[in-house]
Symmetry: C2
DNA sequence: TTTGGCATATAACAATTGTTACTCTGAGTG
DNA sequence: CACTCAGAGTAACAATTGTTATATGCCAAA
């Protein structure tokens, strides 16, 4: 009953022979950033050729491992994180459907953080060769992915501002607003909310808060009738006010259509 | 009496006609990352052609402004920061001598943060054209700058981990250790310490702490005989222990010579 | 169906960090 | 030289957040 990617069947895209790739999250995402031709769209569809399902809390790429493939998330929530010696975990980024991680790290040879799933996910491993071929033959796609990378960096900076100078309530509100925009771009959120299949402990490791304080903070948001959540379903009751609390300025996500046309 | 860049005179490099650029901070920095030929080194020297002195606390590039030039720091401390509506400032990165900021942002068209000086600085503005010519003609330099960019990103992630899951003392220790390594690479630090010409308020905006708590934290480090500071001069009395407190792992800075040969 | 375990929820208390207010010093300036 | 002011230093108190403990609910495995 989860939204999106209804064409998943047996670990393969049922429609992989056809040309209708417009619903692929990475296509939806890049189409906001650059104009895409049918050929571009089809090429992006190839990225998910080796899609497979991964259980929640599974490491995909370990810190320090040599990196030869990129990881494309098609469904579910994945993260990049670092571990301290104390066992504390800092989540550095969320990877939601349409996010491609991390083509560039090949230059450094290894990654300084670990890629893992938070929820059950559909992910595709993309060999460097396949990716570089596409980048070469599809300059629009190449430009789109470079833009996406810059947006990811801006998002990291935003998270640093979050951690450095926002209160727990503001931080939580900001994260919920950011996810609302990012998930809506790829069709995994409506205007009212989205499925947030992660624990309060995970939220704590994201925001630099204890799980208890995450719980307190969510309660405040609930009591103020800003959000509701039943199970994994998050409903945003008052988005404007939530954004106001968070001082959320979505510009850094480049999510408005003003920056590019949609594909024909 | 400040160390490094003794050749500064009248806003120009006195030796700009010669070929001895090895002492330039950006040359020292990149030489750790990639092999550099004499030609590469000379080309890097050109970057500081339009060097000028800038007073402390001067904005160089404003948030939202169209970006047509990169900024190269030759001496002093500069930063990237974001402002909240409340007036709170989050410092996102330090730009120390040898750091080049931000060639890539041209793709996005505008920057999401402001570049500013903390101390009096010598900086050079590098027009996009000059930079792209050099990148084209000197692949080693291009590769070095790409590596430097990746290192900068890793540093930002590290700062996020800092803010998210380290105590004030650990955060401060980590910052001091990081600067020790970065400044030593470009010849602005000895093994014992370095000049740190920034206020406790600035440190607070860096670490997400109040200025009062910064003061407390520095006092603890002093009382434990880990550091000393008289005026702007920071002396590190016990680097191993400071690194231990910070859980500092310098790998992300790629500062050890094991990754590349020095130029002939 | 029962059970075990994980996630949520909440309370009481502790620790960290922020805020306000004040003093002191030193560098720059008239 | 006196004056000003920014920055460092400190204390007292307040607010936020973390820790520990315990209870509850719910889903999945036996």
């Amino acid at each position: 009953m989860s939204s999106g990617l209804e064409q998943v069947s047996g670990g393969r895209l049922a429609s992989s022979g056809g040309s209708r790739h417009h619903h692929h999250p990475i296509v939806r995402k890049l189409a906001r950033l650059v104009p895409l031709t049918e050929a571009d769209t089809a090429a992006l569809g190839q990225l998910s050729a080796s899609m497979r399902q991964v259980a929640a809390h599974t490491d995909l790429v370990h810190e320090g491992a040599p990196l030869t493939e990129a990881v494309l998330v098609l469904q579910g929530f994945a993260i990049r994180y670092q571990l301290r010696d104390t066992g504390a975990r800092q989540i550095l980024a969320y990877l939601v459907p349409g996010d491609l991680c991390d083509p560039d790290a090949a230059l450094l040879g290894e990654l300084d953080c670990t890629i893992s799933t938070l929820s059950a996910c559909f992910v595709a491993r993309v060999p460097q060769g396949v990716l570089s071929d596409i980048l070469e033959q599809h300059p629009n796609v190449a430009r789109g992915l470079r833009l996406a990378k810059l947006i990811e960096e801006a998002t990291t900076r935003c998270w640093l501002t979050n951690a450095g100078c926002r209160s727990a309530l503001e931080r939580m509100a900001h994260l919920l607003c950011e996810l609302q925009v990012r998930l809506q771009v790829v069709g995994f959120a409506t205007e009212d909310g989205y499925e947030l299949p992660i624990t309060q402990h995970d939220l704590g490791d994201t925001l630099g808060l204890s799980n208890v304080h995450v719980n307190r903070t969510l309660r405040v948001l609930r009591e103020q009738r800003l959000i509701e959540h039943h199970g994994k379903q998050l409903t945003i009751l008052d988005l404007p006010r939530l954004q106001e609390i968070a001082e959320f300025k979505p510009g850094y996500l480049r999510s408005t259509a003003s920056h590019a046309r949609l594909p024909l």
